[in-house]
């Protein structure tokens, strides 16, 4: 019946073998990561004994920071707030540098994995046909949720045990009215910013992500063996449920994990901004993986129309991200309220200025101008070119979400930052490609497969 056609026309049994050069490459990346990590750990240890000095210079720096910055005005209700902005602005010492870098990379790659799960759910829920041939790639990326949760957990455990001071609110002093470091504003957030809520939501939502990832994957593997639409329809229903969970959880986790680092600061748009960032990073990763596989003779059924559609997604979500970036920035800039502008002062007017502006320009202008043309959306060269730039650009976005919040000034950027990122990239690639090699590159009995293979724009 149908199957006899299947094998004669195109090889649907095509499998990807993870080995050789690619595997070696991921190991090299991991080795670079380990070297950078060791360098960062040494940096942290050598800084440790001089903590008292560092604390002194911290206060000095912050004092300068305050006086030189007329934009931070004292207001009646936020007097204590500005005062504590001072104690919060930490110098980028070795230990902070180690832990912020671990958080940046853990978050960035974990974000890509959950965005893949989200994107796959959209494909199911929207009854999308064209993308069926790409489903295994989404599954593979989302499989990184489990290994990716481990470094994230390590950073959070370290924060909870006060090995690092990324989360200012985790310091019990700021919540204690008798302490000299007591911060009325942060203490007011205690019902949300406490260990129970932080760990409760994190474990619950990440647990749900893992649960859904396993469920989609198991059903999809089963679909290779059994025909019919039952499994697909189950995934359709689960996807609708997952989208609701994701809609709420992504916002809450973005507050807990990222926004709370800038403890005083708040923005209602923040959750969606983070969400669009992980989404575009995930799409970029997807495109690069598809192009790599096609270059190596896999996935003959992925044609230029599929590539163009992925290019359109990359174009569209880049613009969505830029739109959200601008919406948040413009409204805060326009209203110029002290408690809100604190976020942009180190980033846009401080030491991070060029990185911050550069990051936005790369992430907005590169895809907008270079992917406007439909021919470029089909061109492996342009997609790779733009893809690599915005992948790095969004990594830089993650860097700028976290580092300036921890260290308002005196940050260092060296080979360690880049090395650790490459190390994480190696781990990410290792797990994604390993997952990809474990099954067919295409879901054989998906009811939309036929439509997807015959898809032409």
């Amino acid at each position: 019946m149908g199957d006899s056609h299947t094998t004669t026309v195109m090889n649907l049994e095509d499998k990807f073998v993870f080995g050789g050069k690619l595997k070696t490459f991921t190991f090299i990346l991991m080795a670079i990561g380990v070297i950078s990590l060791v360098a960062l750990v040494f940096g942290a240890m050598s800084d440790n004994h001089g903590e008292n000095d560092a604390h002194q210079s911290k206060t000095e720096l912050s004092a300068n920071h305050e006086s030189s910055d007329p934009r931070v005005a004292h207001t009646e209700s936020h007097g204590s707030h500005v005062a504590h902005e001072v104690s919060e602005s930490t110098h980028h010492d070795g230990s902070t540098r180690l832990w912020t870098n671990l958080l940046i990379n853990s978050f960035f790659f974990f974000g890509i994995a959950i965005a893949a799960l989200f994107f796959m759910s959209i494909q199911y829920a929207a009854e999308a046909g064209w993308s069926t041939v790409l489903k295994r790639i989404m599954e593979a990326i989302s499989s990184y949720i489990i290994p990716g949760a481990i470094p994230l957990a390590i950073v959070f455990i370290a924060a909870s045990l006060h090995w690092n001071h990324i989360y200012h609110w985790m310091d019990p002093d700021v919540m204690d009215p008798t302490s000299e470091h007591y911060d009325r504003l942060i203490a007011g957030k205690k019902p949300f910013l406490n260990q129970y809520v932080f760990w409760g939501f994190s474990i619950f939502f990440v647990g749900l992500y893992i649960f859904f990832q396993r469920m989609f994957r198991t059903r999809s593997l089963q679909e290779d063996k059994e025909a019919g639409t039952k499994l697909h329809m189950s995934n359709f229903a689960s996807a609708a449920g997952f989208l609701v969970i994701f809609g709420y959880s992504s916002v809450v986790l973005s507050w807990l994990w990222i926004m709370s680092i800038d403890t005083h600061w708040f923005s209602t748009l923040f959750g969606w901004y983070i969400f669009s960032g992980i989404w575009i990073s995930c799409l970029t990763a997807m495109i690069l993986i598809v192009l790599y596989l096609k270059r190596n003779g896999h996935m003959p059924y992925v044609n230029s129309s599929h590539i163009q559609d992925l290019g359109k997604w990359m174009f569209a979500i880049s613009i969505l991200w830029s739109y959200l970036w601008f919406s948040q920035f413009m409204l805060i800039w326009y209203a110029n309220i002290p408690e809100e502008v604190t976020y942009y002062i180190p980033r846009l007017f401080g030491e991070y200025k060029s990185l911050f502006i550069g990051m936005f320009l790369v992430n907005f202008i590169f895809p907008t101008l270079l992917l406007m043309d439909s021919a470029n959306k089909r061109s492996p060269f342009w997609l790779t070119f733009v893809g690599i730039f915005i992948f790095l650009g969004h990594w830089m976005d993650a860097y700028l979400l976290i580092t300036p919040a921890v260290a308002k000034s005196g940050f260092e950027f060296g080979f360690q930052e880049i090395g650790l990122m490459l190390g994480f990239l190696g781990v990410f690639m290792f797990f994604v490609f390993r997952s990809l090699s474990k099954a067919n590159l295409v879901v054989k009995n998906n009811p939309y497969l036929d439509e997807s293979i015959n898809f032409h724009l």
């Binding site: 019946m1 149908g2 056609h5 299947t6 026309v9 195109m10 209700s77 009854e127 046909g129 009325r184 504003l185 007011g188 957030k189 949300f192 639409t229 697909h232 609708a240 989208l243 609701v244 809609g247 709420y248 916002v251 507050w255 708040f266 923005s267 209602t268 748009l269 923040f270 959750g271 969606w272 359109k312 613009i319 739109y323 959200l324 919406s327 948040q328 413009m330 409204l331 805060i332 326009y334 209203a335 309220i337 408690e339 009811p447 939309y448 497969l449 036929d450 439509e451 293979i453 015959n454 032409h456």
Partner: protein, 557 residues
């Protein structure tokens, strides 16, 4: 070649042919209106006249006739403005975004949704014009580009004000929507022109259709310009309501200044817009007898869009509420507590229950496929979204200084103008329904062969899949007595691959095909094939075997 999965449901019912589609769509243009049309039209027209009266009274007397006071300087005027602009959102979303996403179901509803956009934006535009007080000076807002540039000093116009950005955003949106709508109408106007008999009618539709001939080059350009306009219109969907939201969000008013406003207003606008499309389409399918084109599946898709955008709005409401507390800013916290527990608590309750809770019913498949529930929820959402804007605007009723606090009481003019715009809107829409092709009939024809029920179930052979599909679930047709490998191939050429298809076909079609292949097939007689195929399809193999034994080479003895 486009292929469609078997699990996709048909979008056109009732055994339509190309001609039948044209007949169905142009019927209201050439036919006489029925009783219901006249009843609804008269009612709308009366309300519209009352609305126009109230508008004239406002312009003649001044906006003091509204219920505004020094605390609530913006009330129903801006509420209605934002509500109408929001409704105007779905039209362009359906035309542009769904076109880019290749959603075929849009073709049954895009024309009317676009018409709705045009009329809704017109209604929206009335409110800022009226609020100017001296409407005869309205052209001043266009001064920077006119001959009067700088005549009124550097303060005029104020480019720092989002209200001015609104003027440009909305007029751009209106122009692009109008062009999009009109370009799509040209081929359909031409179809009406070609059928019109009365000289005046023919003349009007000739002018409107710009000499459209329907040649292939014209169609290529038509499709290109549609995509270009869709590409231009999609950012406009975002820009218009983002800028409307900035009317509030650029201020420093608690409850207004919050960063989520731009995307949240966009989601809310799409939400309310789809609710209005749902209301109009559920009415139109009944009144204009379009049930075959605007099917339950269409309404289900719209309900899905409603539940998604409703959930986005829900996330935004809760984010706002949470951050108001989290920020530790007492004014912000108070603004939200006041919404929920202050004098306008009932409006807040309406907003929350209508917008966040009620659409959740669409997670149940039965509910989103029920036309009655769809209709009720669409009305509920329209009401809820009006209250959402009202709740936001009424934040100002209790500002920083308690001695300023005041309530808003609408006057009969406020009410008259709001109800009046609904009347004008429906009057325009009903006139449109009698004079325009309410479905994009020429575009619908392009999906007939892939999404028409008759083509999908095989009653009509689909030349689109006549070439060999790589992965179709085809049956072994040679199991039918009288069919060998060669004839099986010929049947495949006709698009017949399965027993089910074969069982549905009139054998005369097969006979014609066989005859066309030359004399060696003349002796074959396909009369029993459909019946045999029926048995095979139903897996009645024993019965088939028995019958085949009786048959002589596939021919009945």
């Amino acid at each position: 070649m486009h292929k469609e999965s078997d699990i996709r449901q048909p979008l056109i019912f009732g055994d339509k042919s190309y001609k039948q589609i044209t007949d169905d769509v142009v019927k209201p243009v050439f036919g006489k209106a029925n009783k219901y049309w006249w009843i609804v039209f008269s009612l709308s027209a009366i309300i519209a006249v009352w609305g126009v009266g109230c508008i004239a009274y406002t312009i003649g007397t001044g906006i003091g006739v509204w219920g505004l006071n020094s605390t609530v300087g913006w009330a129903w005027d801006i509420t209605n403005f934002v509500w109408w602009v929001g409704i105007g959102h779905a039209g362009t979303l359906i035309s542009a975004v769904l076109l880019l996403f290749r959603q075929k179901w849009r073709m049954a509803i895009n024309r009317s949704a676009e018409a709705m956009t045009i009329f809704a934006v017109m209604m929206a535009g009335l409110f800022p014009l009226m609020h100017m007080g001296r409407i005869w000076n309205a052209h001043w807002i266009m001064m920077p580009f006119g001959i009067f540039k700088n005549q009124f000093g550097t303060l005029w116009v104020n480019f720092n004000s989002p209200l001015l950005w609104d003027v440009f955003a909305i007029s751009t949106y209106f122009s692009v929507s109008l062009v999009f709508w009109y370009i799509g109408l040209i081929p359909d106007f031409a179809t009406i022109r070609d059928r019109a008999v009365k000289p005046l009618q023919k003349k009007i539709y000739s002018i409107l259709s710009w000499g459209w001939t329907g040649n292939i080059k014209a169609w290529v350009r038509f499709e290109e310009i549609s995509l270009v306009l869709a590409g231009l219109a999609t950012p406009l969907v975002f820009s218009v309501h983002s800028i409307v939201s900035m009317d509030f969000a650029t201020s420093v008013i608690p409850g207004w200044h919050t960063t989520i406003f731009p995307p949240y207003f966009v989601a809310g606008a799409v939400f309310s817009g789809f609710a209005m499309v749902q209301t109009l389409m559920l009415t139109a399918r009944k009144v204009l007898n379009l049930e075959d084109y605007i099917t339950v599946k269409h309404h289900e898709y719209m309900n899905i869009v409603i539940v998604i955008t409703g959930s986005m709005v829900g996330v935004a409401y809760l984010s706002e509420l949470f951050i108001a507390w989290y920020s530790g800013v007492e004014y912000e916290t108070y603004a939200f507590l006041n919404r929920a527990r202050g004098p306008y608590w009932w409006a807040y309750l309406f907003m929350m229950s209508c917008n966040v809770i009620s659409p959740l019913i669409f997670f149940i498949k039965k509910a989103r496929r029920s036309l009655i529930i769809s209709f009720i929820i669409s009305i509920v959402v329209n009401i809820g979204m009006w209250f959402e804007r009202f709740v936001i605007i009424m934040s100002t009723a209790r500002d920083y200084l308690p001695s300023n606090w005041d309530m808003f009481h609408p006057t009969f003019v406020d009410i008259g103008i709001f109800i009046g715009t609904i009347g004008i809107f429906f009057t325009l829409f009903l006139l449109y329904a009698r004079t325009f092709p309410v479905l994009a009939l020429n575009e619908l024809k392009t999906i007939l062969k892939s999404s028409g029920n008759n083509y999908k179930n095989g009653t009509v052979i689909n030349p689109l899949i006549a070439s060999k599909p790589a992965y179709a679930n085809s049956d072994d047709l040679t199991k039918i007595e009288g069919i060998g490998p060669v004839i099986s191939g010929l049947l495949n050429e006709m698009g017949i691959y399965t027993f089910k298809q074969l069982s549905l076909i009139d054998p005369i079609n097969i006979k014609l095909k066989l005859d066309s292949q030359g004399s060696r097939f003349r002796t074959h007689e396909p009369k029993t094939w459909p019946n045999q195929a029926k048995m095979a399809n139903e897996q009645r193999w024993d019965e088939l075997k028995k019958w085949q034994d009786e048959l002589n080479g596939g021919k009945a003895n």
